[in-house]
Point group: C2
Chain length 259, copies 2
């Protein structure tokens, strides 16, 4: 499985992915699930993918080869993010149909994408493109989109993410969401890729690659654990409870950068 | 859907359930999913259920009528928790088979149970009984079991719950786990039922019913939100960040006792 997440706040975009892929439980690999397309000063796109790896790789190849061959539409020719998402949906369904036609069994060739970006003079936007090729975008009420193993890491996003959250806080929140997912589900795993894109920068943004033993990721995990235990500590007591019982550090702080 | 949770710590048992049932999205009701069987000083059982409501109701009826009719096995005759779980598995599969035989369609009659309890002179135990009638119990490494919508509320349990956690802290943790699930998934809803059973008490335990507007549940939610924001606040900053930017209460504290 996979966990990918995109957040769109007033200050910019945060994109975060795990890197674990598997074809059966005994064929587990590491593949980047984040593909960026950048024309500095003009346009920035980031594609996050979940699902059939052959499909997502073929889609990325096609996105690149359409630009090289100047076929239209392509990521450089589209006039806005909606056109780009539509173009992506078209390619994705074409690839799936091709492989389905060749297939003699009932293989699942489906892939789901998060597609985020900004075109000069327009607002940053985030879309989720379904295997069927249609798509939705985030909203003011729900300024994030997730694909893959979305449930473990959703509560913290539901509680924290609003449009007015600082960009770096949104990024920390994304890392916490990813960390919780990695810890609770073995099909999601490091390295974690994080991209922080400042609105209107029209650059490649800050892309950070967190290995399993990355010191920053480890420190973040430890601090988050400490913070959760503190939060638990500060919850109201039941009326029959001895106020002096559940105090202090009952628990060890355990490292869990990688689950 | 449903979310039920049982925790077995050294000091006793914590059981927690939501109360939302639905047969289609336009037929949503409130039913208790916690059924307790208590013989003070002798034995205490608590049954939490997820799945087909007709099946779970029929199972509870049968558990009670077997006792009244002194049919063996019954909950009073079983010699240990394993026998009780096996008996429950047998009844559950019998009920499902009966309804499947009558069915002219492909209705899903499955139900999954958490079965917790203590028999005098023995240790408290918790089982999960699958629709197939087989069962697993919790372990020292994993002293909790969940059924239904288990993913949203799992990270906090994975981080906190160990055998040596105080009973009331485990209960607070269960409420947080439930609260996060209710907030992130509309198919899980209040009222929330919580039962705190002290080891060797062989009583009905403390059973608390939290309505949507319960002041304690509301306070717990607010304090948890505050604590999470504080935890987020205390996370390490990225090296390029202005240390003075993301400080103080950027976010309002929002009440969310019921999602």
């Amino acid at each position: 499985m996979t966990y990918c997440l995109a957040i769109n706040v007033n200050e910019g975009l945060v994109l975060c992915t795990d890197s674990r892929t598997n074809a059966g439980t005994d064929n587990v690999s590491v593949y980047s699930k984040m593909h960026n397309f950048v024309w500095p000063g003009e346009r920035f796109f980031s594609l996050l993918s979940a699902g059939n790896l052959a499909t997502t790789q073929a889609v990325v190849k096609k996105l690149n080869s359409d630009i090289a061959a100047a076929l239209t539409p392509n990521l450089l020719s589209v006039n806005n993010m909606q056109e780009a998402a539509d173009y992506l949906g078209m390619i994705s369904t074409q690839v799936q149909k091709l492989h389905s036609t060749r297939d003699t069994g009932t293989t699942n060739f489906e892939a789901t994408f998060i597609f985020a970006g900004q075109i000069a003079g327009q607002a940053p936007e985030v879309f989720m493109v379904y295997p069927q090729g249609n798509y939705i975008h985030e909203s003011n009420e729900h300024p994030f989109l997730q694909i893959g193993e979305i449930k473990y890491g959703k509560p913290i996003l539901d509680r924290v993410i609003k449009r007015d959250v600082f960009l770096e806080r949104a990024a920390r929140c994304a890392l916490v969401s990813m960390n919780s997912t990695i810890r609770s589900n073995v099909t999601v795993g490091p390295p974690v890729e994080l991209l922080i894109y400042e609105r209107d920068s029209l650059t490649a943004g800050r892309r950070i690659y967190f290995n399993e033993d990355d010191p920053f990721a480890r420190q973040l995990s430890e601090k988050w654990n400490e913070g959760l235990l503190m939060a638990l500590q500060n919850l109201p007591r039941f009326d029959w409870e001895d106020a002096n019982k559940d105090v202090g550090g009952q628990h060890r702080v355990v490292n869990f950068p990688s689950g």
